[in-house]
């Protein structure tokens, strides 16, 4: 891990790297660097794209994108330290203009993750072939995973407002 850190710092300029004792490496970077950084790490052997997540820091007006990488085994039946390593890459983007370059070209399985984040947070991934809804069918004014989306209020306004059949019938007969 320390070695990798040295290499990364030599190769990239705008990184801050922390290594935690449980083989977790945390890299803070800019959104422009993400693709080349992922590419570099993939070539270094961190081939497993485990997770692409997003945190809505609503107080700061930012989304934080989290890319988590780990390594597959180099030798099929020998466990090495490298597999224990998990690299967490963080990049912040503005909440109002949520745009970031897609990483599909680097990691194929980032595709559904990006689709989901597009749907749940409203982040636009440039270069993604199908940013169609993945999970949801309904339209939401605010993407539901954003912090300013109040689920309970939404439920009351949507499902709660629908009358029961008896109520609707009574209403109908009254008018």
């Amino acid at each position: 891990m320390e070695e990798l850190k040295k290499k990364l710092l030599a190769y990239f300029t705008d990184l801050t790297i922390q290594i935690h004792d449980d083989y977790r490496m945390c890299i803070n970077t800019q959104k422009e660097t993400v693709v080349s950084l992922l590419n570099y790490l993939k070539n270094m052997g961190y081939e497993h794209f485990a997770l692409l997540s997003c945190i809505d820091w609503i107080d700061k007006g930012e989304f934080e994108l989290i890319y988590i990488l780990s390594a597959y085994m180099e030798v099929c039946d020998k466990y090495q330290e490298k597999e224990q390593g998990i690299i967490i890459i963080k990049a912040r983007i503005s909440r109002d203009d949520a745009k970031v370059i897609s990483v599909i070209n680097v990691f194929e399985n980032a595709e559904p993750y990006e689709r989901e984040l597009h749907e749940m947070f409203g982040i636009k991934f440039e270069g993604h072939p199908r940013l169609t809804p993945l999970m949801l069918e309904r339209e939401y004014e605010i993407p539901p995973f954003r912090k300013d989306f109040d689920t309970l209020k939404y439920v009351d306004n949507t499902f709660g407002k629908i009358p029961s059949i008896e109520e609707r019938k009574a209403n109908y007969e009254r008018t």
């Binding site: 989306f149 309970l152 499902f159 059949i165």
Partner: protein, 184 residues
């Protein structure tokens, strides 16, 4: 089978046959589906009760709504329900279709099912055990005997209200009304 049963068979063979051969739609709507395989296999053997899962709604007369219903599934449920031939019965499973259950504040699951399709019986539990399913079926038999399991009749009678509720939720349903007088 006691004598009472035999006379019932003579009186209303259609109803009796209907009652003792529930064909269940094979549709996993929610997590309650996990107790269906144990019920229909050796340990509990639902076939003793005349319950058998069938592949298509066209052949089915019992619809088990197993657990929570997300809005996307609800659309499929309504379609499936409308495709089933009458007489048909709906039994809702577990807490969620009654009042939202665990997902009472989820933006994607409906809170009460009977606003959208008629429900003939609810089984409590999260999840209900296989025993509860069977006892639920015996209760349904009683209801059918008393002509109280009239969900499909209500659906036909109040179709415009059901349709109105469905349209209020989905804005656009994507298929024509099942019965003619569908608009309020």
């Amino acid at each position: 089978m006691d004598r009472n049963q035999i006379s019932k068979w003579f009186k209303n063979p259609g109803k009796m046959a209907n009652k003792y051969s529930f064909h269940v739609v094979y549709f996993c709507t929610g997590c309650g589906i996990i107790e269906i395989p144990p019920s229909i296999t050796t340990r509990w053997d639902a076939e003793r009760f005349g319950i058998i899962p069938v592949a298509t709604p066209r052949q089915a007369n019992l619809f088990l709504i197993t657990g929570y219903v997300s809005t996307k599934t609800l659309k499929a449920i309504i379609r499936t329900y409308e495709q089933m031939p009458e007489p048909k019965y709906t039994v809702a499973f577990g807490s969620c279709p009654i009042n939202g259950g665990m997902y009472y504040d989820s933006y994607n699951t409906i809170t009460s099912l009977d606003k959208y399709i008629p429900v003939d019986g609810y089984i409590a539990g999260c999840m209900p055990r296989p025993e509860a399913i069977f006892i639920g079926v015996t209760h349904l038999w009683k209801l059918i005997d008393m002509d109280k399991a009239d969900g499909y009749k209500r659906y036909r009678r109040d179709y415009k209200f059901y349709r109105a509720n469905q349209e209020q939720l989905f804005k656009e349903l994507g298929w024509p009304p099942l019965f003619k007088d569908a608009s309020l």
